[in-house]
């Protein structure tokens, strides 16, 4: 059953009250049949029709969840702009809402953070910026450890997490992601471990580790950076490869948003942990990430038609707007704070917060698009009508 199912009998009590007319009929989805008055106003047309036989409010039309609180009554049915017509089964969602909880939204962030940090670390390693390299490697290990915890914790049977390793399936982005993480995790771990080499004693078996770890860490750091772009973008496919309307239809744009968000959060780590004098690369990384992310997010909100609506409205819309504002503030602060350590740190924190907000916003938008059946029905109706028109055109040349 859908998660928010009320306790025993509560629906029935509310339903009875509504029939008696005790409560206003706002936002009641409980009607089978065509929802919303048609352009011809037929739903309220007949004076002897069954519409009149019903005691109150429930017949008012516009009975879609969360909309038209009784305003679209019969009297103004002809005046109101008719809503896009669609039918549902008692206003119920057709699809199941994702069973994934906040852990997965948080993982979208930590996975991206790990990817961005590893790229930052490799850049620092290759261009001789040890402070950048160290910050990136440590952040990557922390983020990928958190990722593993979040992913296992969200499973219905966490103790069976290793069943993911039974198969490798290109048709399952989750399976692909499992193998990306399996390759990335140990590499990121080794690279971070190598940062501890100077702390080891110079003699004895640990002394050997002290000498071996830095070169191993260099190779591991590059290996982690090589898998990082895949880690940062496969999560977009993970969401898109579902029946969730706002995730699926967003597949051309989501990877850009996630790639940009990952870069920006990696840059945030650099700005937070590295003195401004060495953080020039992190600043440029922030600009590159923000540009990718803002471009992608713009396409999400404007290029998707009806299923883009959840990205603009409600909680998801607020989160995405907050993410955009924080990204802009973070980039501006990074560019202005070339000499101020506190300002650079605040900018880094803003970029990290922006990434969190964006990931949760995207996640929420998908959930919202499942809960309202019109995002499922209307685009499919349009697709069906288009295909029928095409078929008719080919049948009569």
């Amino acid at each position: 059953m859908i998660p928010e199912r009320p306790s025993v009998g509560e629906r029935f009590r509310r339903f009875r009250e509504r029939l008696r007319g005790d409560t206003p009929t706002s936002a009641e989805p409980v009607r089978p049949g065509r929802v919303g008055a048609g352009p011809d106003g037929r739903s309220g047309g007949s004076s002897t029709g069954p519409v009149d036989a019903c005691p109150t409010g429930v017949t008012g039309g516009g009975g879609r969840a969360g909309r038209g609180p009784g305003r679209r009554g019969r009297a103004d049915a002809d005046l109101a702009v008719p809503p896009a017509e669609f039918t549902s089964y008692y206003g119920r969602p057709i699809l199941k809402p994702p069973v994934w909880t906040w852990e997965i939204a948080a993982y979208l962030f930590t996975g991206g953070l790990a990817a961005g940090s590893s790229l930052l670390a490799a850049g620092g390693q290759l261009t001789g910026r040890p402070a950048v390299r160290r910050a990136g490697r440590v952040a990557a290990l922390a983020a990928v450890t958190a990722s593993a915890g979040l992913l296992v914790g969200d499973l219905g049977r966490p103790e069976r997490f290793h069943h993911m390793l039974r198969v490798a399936k290109p048709t399952s982005p989750m399976s692909v992601g499992t193998w990306i993480l399996t390759a990335y995790g140990p590499a990121a771990g080794l690279a971070a471990l190598a940062e501890a080499a100077p702390l080891l004693p110079e003699r004895g078996p640990l002394g050997l580790a002290r000498r071996v770890l830095p070169p191993v860490g260099r190779v591991a750091g590059l290996a982690a950076a090589a898998t990082a772009p895949a880690l940062g973008t496969y999560t977009a496919v993970l969401l898109s490869d579902t029946a969730v309307p706002s995730w699926h239809e967003a597949y051309p744009h989501l990877p850009l948003v996630f790639a940009g968000s990952a870069l920006a959060s990696g840059a945030g780590v650099g700005l937070l942990a590295v003195p401004p004098a060495q953080a020039g690369a992190a600043r440029r990384l922030a600009v590159a990430g923000a540009a990718l992310e803002l471009f992608g997010a713009h396409r999400l909100e404007t290029g998707l038609g009806l299923v883009g609506e959840p990205y603009r409205t409600g909680r998801a819309g607020r989160l995405l707007r907050a993410g955009r504002a924080l990204t802009a503030a973070g980039v501006a602060g990074a560019l202005l704070g070339r000499r101020s350590r506190p300002l650079a740190a605040i900018s880094g924190a803003a970029l990290l917060a922006a990434s969190v907000a964006t990931r949760f916003g995207v996640f929420q938008a998908g959930v919202a698009s499942v809960r309202d059946p019109r995002y499922t029905v209307l685009p499919q109706r349009e697709r069906l009508a288009r295909r029928r028109a095409d078929d008719a055109a080919t049948d009569t040349p």
Partner: protein, 322 residues
Amino acid sequence: MADPYDRSDPQDPASGAGWVEAPPRMGFFTDTSVCIGCKACEVACKEWNGVPTSGLDLLGMSYDNTGALTANSWRHVAFVEQPRPAGHRPAADPAGAAAATGDPAGPASATGGEFLGMPAAGPPGRTGSAQGRTDFRWLMMSDVCKHCTRAGCLDVCPTGALFRTEFGTVVVQEDICNGCGYCVSACPYGVIDRRADDGRAWKCTLCYDRIGAGMTPACAQACPTESIQYGQLDELRERAAARVATLHERGVPEARLYGHDPHDGVGGDGAFFLLLDEPEVYGLPPDPQVTTHDLPKMWRRAGVAALAMAAGAVVAFLGGRR
């Protein structure tokens, strides 16, 4: 293993999954025009498969207190009440006229659905006097997992818990499933579901144990009106086409098949339906599509974004002195 994107032979998914000399594909044809809403299928399914109860709740949705297909309800009887008579319409009736002209918006658009109230002692609409009596019709449909030819749940399962049986059906192996929940979001029909207290995904197995022993699935066995028919899919499709023709002949122009077409977005369903209204009236998606249809395009887009990500990092480190 066959190419997962191959759509060349939608008729034989079992062979596509690697079965050698697979038996004929089996399925359900659910003819809703003779469903009487007795829910024997729901009960028989629970009994045979040992599906736990979903608790007592009154949903205020006609006689439907099951609500939807869930982890604990593998058959779900939908009840729709519409203020129009079934069959025998007078010519002057605008609802009948709209339906007879094959109005593409569907007959229900002429009437607007009306909810007629909770079950009382008598049938809804009967008030005792001829004046107060309304015309209405019941729509009842026993919904079930569609056992798609191109099954989204099966494609995205990362553990291999979901598999294609030799009968062409799709079944979850409960000892493998780790409850990742990907199948739940991938199903275009909203069928498969994770059981809250158990953590694993559950759905109709088309009684894999029974059909393997040559028996009829529990729901079809229990159905008193043969609304649920079990058999070889080819034969069921012929039977369904004949039934639709009969209904059209008898003046039920709104009868249509759903999920029978091997060229639809999921390659046709192993469990398909005869409906008397638009699919969404019953809570079914009008044009379901397997989500992995777009997966190659998704990977390409992700590849482009990954390259952009790497390029961004290169530019950031080589684009300045510090």
